[in-house]
């Protein structure tokens, strides 16, 4: 910060020097005109001409330096602000992004930032340049001829009055335009992301109408902005010209009466012309500053948001998870006004496994999100190895957890980098193992560049199932203390799922794991099963105990089995389950192979 100010001050000094030098040519011109009117000789004229060019060279050097110095500071600041904004975004919690439009946030990191840079670079440079030019030229004029200066500069205060009148209005209107720009972006983004639905329901026309309404509002606001903004330039031009008109009259009279020479009048005229540009630039600068500060306030708004999830001051590395014992202690959680979890208490001993089942919207994902501190509890506490997760440094907490989120997000990186996303130096063996467990190895072998294949636009587009499997590989590659699978196999076909589950059993050994699933078959062998309904734990226990209870779980299981039996005449649930268990091992691998080759 201080460095920027120092460089900026240096730039300012350069600007002052450059402007002082620029005063000189008008002086030479005055001498030349007066010389010419008294019949100067060729030698004198050549001397005047050479002086004019020489001064321009020196002034140009200073101009170049000052422009470069000031603008490079602006670029540097842009770089740093963008960097800080990115850092800030990285620290913000997931809920923050859910409540906002991504397109709008990106616009702030790009468009608004370049507006701020415009304000700082060309803005400051012009502001300084204009101010210095006006002051220096003004002083020079007063020194040479106070009376003539008074005549020609009386109109200048009009300029300030005018600024004060319009600048607030411009600022307000510009902000409205920018806000609507965000709306246009957001609407377009939504349409393009949801284009399948739009097309499937033949909503193209309705979407176009909706977009055009926003589009028209944007135009309306832009025109309202232009109505005031268009005044700036012409007004600057007018007011600076006004001074010349006065000079022509009063100065002309002074020449006629013999008070001043014609050369002096021309000199003054040159100074006024030299003032006109800074005056006009000042108007333009005001524009830049208006837009820049509107943009700056949009950025500041983002920067001032406080991440809801952050390291507590008392967070200590000593609290880092080592064993993986998890406890939910009277946990409640509200999302907005709605309470989605109510008084949840669960204890998961280190190395054991927990299954969470229950109907849609019961709060299953919320529970694991509280563990990973995607959100924080409203009341109660989540503990790992006896430490409240809020007292564990976030980095340590997340290092301990391998999470496969319900809605997966992969980056436009290579397969290798996506799988190794949480593991900084993944060996070939570890990579191969993760790909094998997640059953992605065969798919990857078919990709053009094997594990170096890029995901996304510049490479392959993964299917839903492949994405989920990549998500599993990514979590496994991290070799976490605690493994969380949140409905992670829903898009994977049945025999791939069977193969993944079989291999996952080895992975889960010695780790604490939490599995959320819709199908009980996925989780029935886990150590502990919790049944969630409307944010409350309604049942808990082992698979057999829950079946014996004959409640919600038993009902779910019965329905699933019934469905899966496909009208096969097999009334005894337990018997059918047992008999399947006896058959499954051999067939699983057989059919798996069939499926791949046949």
């Amino acid at each position: 910060m201080l460095r920027h100010w120092l460089i900026l001050s240096f730039g300012l000094v350069l600007i002052i020097i450059a402007n002082l030098i620029i005063l000189v040519p008008a002086l030479i011109l005055q001498r030349a005109i007066d010389g010419i009117s008294h019949g100067a000789d060729a030698r004198a004229l050549t001397l005047y001409a050479l002086q004019i060019v020489g001064i321009a060279i020196v002034a140009g050097g200073f101009q170049f330096l000052s422009r470069f110095v000031v603008n490079s500071v602006a670029r540097r600041v842009e770089y740093e602000m963008r960097r800080d904004l990115f850092r800030h975004f990285q620290r913000m919690d997931v809920a923050y992004f859910q409540e906002r439009k991504i397109g709008d946030l990106v616009a702030r990191a790009t468009n608004d930032l370049s507006q701020v840079r415009q304000m700082l670079g060309p803005g400051i440079q012009n502001l300084a340049n204009s101010t210095v030019a006006i002051i220096v030229t003004g002083i020079a004029m007063v020194t040479i001829d106070p009376r003539l200066t008074l005549y020609s500069l009386t109109v200048m205060p009009l300029m300030s009055v005018f600024f004060v009148l319009v600048s607030g209005s411009i600022h307000r209107r510009y902000r409205l335009v920018q806000d609507q720009f965000g709306e246009v972006s957001a609407r377009a983004q939504e349409n393009f992301s949801g284009i399948r639905v739009v097309k499937a329901y033949a909503q193209e026309q309705a979407e176009l109408d909706g977009f055009n309404r926003i589009n028209a509002e944007y135009v309306r606001r832009a025109i309202s902005f232009a109505r005031v903004n268009s005044l700036l330039w012409p007004a600057m031009y007018f007011i600076s010209g006004l001074a010349v008109a006065v000079l022509l009259w009063r100065g002309g009279v002074d020449v006629i009466t013999g008070r001043i020479t014609l050369g002096r009048l021309v000199q003054f005229n040159t100074y006024l012309a030299a003032l006109a540009w800074p005056m006009i630039a000042l108007g333009w600068t005001v524009n830049l500053v208006q837009q820049g500060s509107a943009s700056l306030s949009r950025i500041t708004e983002v920067r001032e948001a406080i991440p809801a999830i952050a390291n507590a001051p008392e967070a200590s590395p000593d609290a880092a998870p080592t064993r993986g014992e998890i406890e939910f202690r009277h946990v409640s959680f509200s999302y907005g006004e709605r309470e989605t979890l109510h008084d949840i208490s669960i204890h998961v001993p280190a190395g054991s496994s927990l299954a969470i089942v229950g109907p849609t919207g019961a709060g299953k994902s919320t529970i694991v999100n509280l563990l990973a501190r995607v959100y924080d509890v409203t009341s109660g506490a989540v503990l790992i190895d006896g430490h409240d997760v809020r007292d564990i440094p976030l980095e340590e907490l997340r290092r301990a957890i391998g999470y496969v989120p319900q809605e997966n997000f992969l980056f436009s990186l290579s397969i290798r980098e996506n799988v190794g996303f949480g593991a900084s130096d993944l060996t070939e063996e570890e990579l191969a193992r993760a790909l094998d467990i997640s059953q992605l190895a065969n798919d990857v072998a078919d990709f053009p560049d094997d594990v170096a294949t890029m995901i996304g636009e510049r490479g392959v587009t993964l299917s839903g199932g492949q994405k989920q499997r990549a998500g599993i590989a990514r979590a496994i590659a991290k070799d976490p203390l605690i493994l969380i699978l949140d409905d992670s196999l829903s898009s994977v076909d049945t025999h791939t799922e069977a193969a993944i589950l079989k291999r996952l059993r080895g992975v889960m050994e010695g780790r604490t794991s939490i599995v959320i699933a819709h199908r009980i078959s996925t989780i029935k062998d886990l150590d502990q099963i919790v049944v969630l309904d409307e944010g409350r734990i309604v049942e808990r226990g082992s698979h057999l105990a829950l079946l014996a209870l004959g409640g919600l779980y038993a009902g779910m299981y019965r329905r699933q089995l019934l469905a899966e039996e496909m009208e096969e005449d097999e009334p005894d649930i337990e018997a059918s389950a047992r008999s399947s268990l006896e058959r499954d091992g051999a067939r699983l691998s057989d059919t798996g192979r069939e499926g791949e080759e046949g």
Binding site: I36, S37, L45, A49, I52, G60, Q63, F64, R67, R75, Y79, Q90, M92, V106, A107, T110, S185, A188, Q189, N191, F192, S193, V197, Q203, G210, N212, N215, R227, P234, V244, A245, G252, L262, L265, V266, Y335, F409, S412, F421, G422, E457, R458, G465, T494, T496, L501, H518, R519, T522, I523, K524, R559, Q560, L561, E565, M566, S580, R583, G592, G595
Partner: protein, 605 residues
């Protein structure tokens, strides 16, 4: 991520490209009248501007310092000076009015054209096939419709017209100078060739640097968007620092490139000023000599100096104008590339109207590929009778989803044909076709709006009552009514705050609200809903399937027990079909799939 750049964003703009200008002209044409008036006003502004030094010359030669001062009384000369001052003021006032009307009219014109451009882009994109959206990231498409359109706006407000007035000013000044004194004018014109040379050199280098900057900025923007969208994963995997490292490389690379452009920009103005000084020096030396010799009046000499000063003003702006033009050309190139994107899935010239649809679906030897390399469907033929329900089963990649997409004509088949009631889907208007096909897609997309608006979408014909009915039908009413504002509860972008299951139910309600008379297509839609809800949906489905041709895609065999027929797909071919019992008895691929499903249900994790 670090390497993720978009070819499209690397278009190297020329400052003037006749082909593009003609395309832009199509959008200007409707406003020809307003445009011409604006141009006319711009001309008047130039004329008004050029009047000022002439008034000065008149004032000096007639009143202030006439060659024969004694010819006029001092009082008359003073009045003359006042008159000239007043005249000058008048040109200023006229200039102000003209300039304001021109600037404002130009802004309005620009905005109207922008509206049309955005609207055309959006409309065209609505007609493009899904293949287009598969290949173009959303961020890029957004840039087309926002930033690129804005860059063209600059072309109007600060580019083309300003450039034109600049040129007119330059030409006007040169003409005036020659009329005043052609010898002196010729001498002043000596600076023009080297000035032109320096300017064109500058532009050439600027163009390279400009391109480099744009490419880098596009990379930064893509990276920021991806990181915001993937925040949760970045945080859960402690990737902040490494992702920041990638980003910082991009950001720093951009910063370094901008410094290069800065050097050029900083140098340009002093160089132009130097040329202006040389011109002034030439006037003093040569013109001064002429004045001394009595060949040139003092007023004319002063006017010469003033005109020359004005000559260099537009030249100083040239750099900015050039950048504006170049960026507008690059943007328009990208915009027209989208507008020129052929509508591969187009409505026929004379679509066959679908009046009363019975719902017979037929695939006749259908071959289909997304990329023309790998066949997804290889000669698939089947016929589904009106009212019949059919389930497609098979492993991932068997081609099930493609079947659905072809039925809705999201893509066109390469060979064979898809028929609805014996009519090729290509011969029907898409909107007409899709009105009869209710589709629940894999991704239950939720729009920003309300619960109700997500069910009825843009169809105002769908009454509140029908929305509620649909929600009740698919058992979505339960969770909706528990929301604080019920059906008016605000939904955020992509349905944040709703569970996947809830979004799924909403998508069901949406399909049902549209009451597709004929077809209901469910694309593995039941996979993310829990067992209890799934049972309710099964129940709703059964009701729906009655009297409707239904196609169900499901990975879970358990969800298809109620269908009339099952078609088993394997690697793009139909391997078996028949009823569940028939297929089991056949002891083939389906039997193995089924048993695997059954075995897996007791394997556990």
């Amino acid at each position: 991520m670090a390497q993720s750049f978009f070819q499209d964003d690397e278009i190297l703009g020329k400052a003037y490209d006749a082909r593009l200008v003609r395309r832009i002209w199509e959008f200007v044409r409707p406003y020809k009248r307003q445009g011409s008036i604006t141009l006319l006003v711009a001309l008047l502004v130039v004329g008004d501007d050029l009047l000022a030094p002439f008034i000065t010359q008149l004032a000096i030669d007639r009143y202030i310092a006439p060659t024969h001062p004694s010819a006029m009384s001092v009082a008359d000369r003073m009045n003359g000076a006042l008159l000239m001052g007043g005249l000058y003021l008048l040109t200023l006032a006229v200039g102000f009015g003209l300039r304001y009307s021109q600037t404002f009219a130009l802004s309005v014109l620009g905005q109207r054209i922008m509206y049309d451009l955005r609207s055309s882009l959006f409309r065209h994109m609505q007609r493009l096939s899904l293949g287009f959206f598969d290949h173009n990231p959303v961020g890029r498409l957004m840039t087309r419709i926002t930033n690129d359109v804005d860059a063209i706006n600059d072309l109007f407000t600060s580019g083309s017209v300003a450039l034109l007035t600049d040129l007119l000013t330059l030409v006007g000044i040169i003409i005036i100078l020659f009329v005043e004194n052609w010898q002196l004018a010729l001498v002043v014109c000596l600076v023009i060739p080297p000035l032109a040379f320096a300017t064109s050199r500058f532009q050439r280098v600027m163009r390279e640097v400009f391109r480099a900057i744009r490419v880098r900025l596009a990379r930064i923007n893509a990276n920021v968007a991806e990181n915001i969208a993937g925040t949760q994963v970045v945080q859960l995997f402690n990737r902040e620092d490494r992702n920041f490292g990638y980003f910082d490389d991009l950001n720093h690379d951009y910063y370094r490139t901008t410094l290069r452009s800065l050097t050029l920009f900083a140098a340009f103005l002093p160089v132009v000023n130097l040329f202006a000084a040389v011109a002034t020096a030439l006037i003093v030396r040569v013109g001064g000599g002429q004045t001394v010799a009595g060949l040139l009046s003092l007023g004319a000499l002063v006017a010469f100096l003033q005109y020359t000063d004005r000559f260099f003003l537009p030249v100083r702006d040239l750099a900015d104008r050039y950048t504006t033009l170049q960026s507008a050309m690059a943007s328009s190139e990208r915009i027209f590339r989208v507008l020129d994107e052929p509508v591969t899935i187009a409505d026929p010239a004379n679509p066959i109207p679908l009046t009363s649809v019975r719902g017979a679906v037929e695939f006749r030897d259908v071959w289909f590929s997304y990329n023309r390399e790998e066949w997804v469907l290889k000669g698939v033929s089947f016929r589904i009778e009106p009212g019949e329900s059919v389930a497609f089963v098979g492993a991932t990649g068997a081609g099930k989803t493609s079947l659905i997409s072809l039925m809705s004509r999201f893509y066109d088949v390469q060979r064979g044909e898809v028929l609805l009631d014996g009519v090729n889907v290509r011969d029907v208007a898409q909107a007409d076709l899709r009105r009869h096909i209710g589709a629940v897609l894999q991704d239950p997309f939720i729009f920003a709006g309300t619960i109700a608006s997500n069910i009825r979408l843009g169809e105002s014909d769908i009454s509140d009552e029908r929305v509620r009915e649909a929600a009740r039908f698919v058992n979505a009413a339960g969770f909706i009514e528990q929301l604080p504002n019920g059906y008016d509860e605000v939904t955020r972008e992509r349905g944040a705050g709703l569970s996947v299951g809830q979004k799924q139910l909403l998508a069901f309600a949406r399909a049902i609200a549209f009451n597709p008379e004929v077809l209901l297509i469910l694309d593995e839609a039941t996979s993310s809903v829990d067992t209890a809800t799934e049972a309710l949906i099964q129940d709703a489905l059964e009701k729906l399937m009655r009297g409707r041709t239904s196609i169900i895609i499901a990975h879970r065999l358990s969800t298809i027990r109620h269908v009339d027929r099952i078609i088993v797909l394997h690697k793009g071919r139909i391997v078996e079909q028949g009823s569940h019992d028939d297929l089991l008895a056949r002891n083939g691929y389906y039997k193995r799939l089924y048993e695997l499903q059954y075995a897996e249900s007791v394997t556990g994790a």
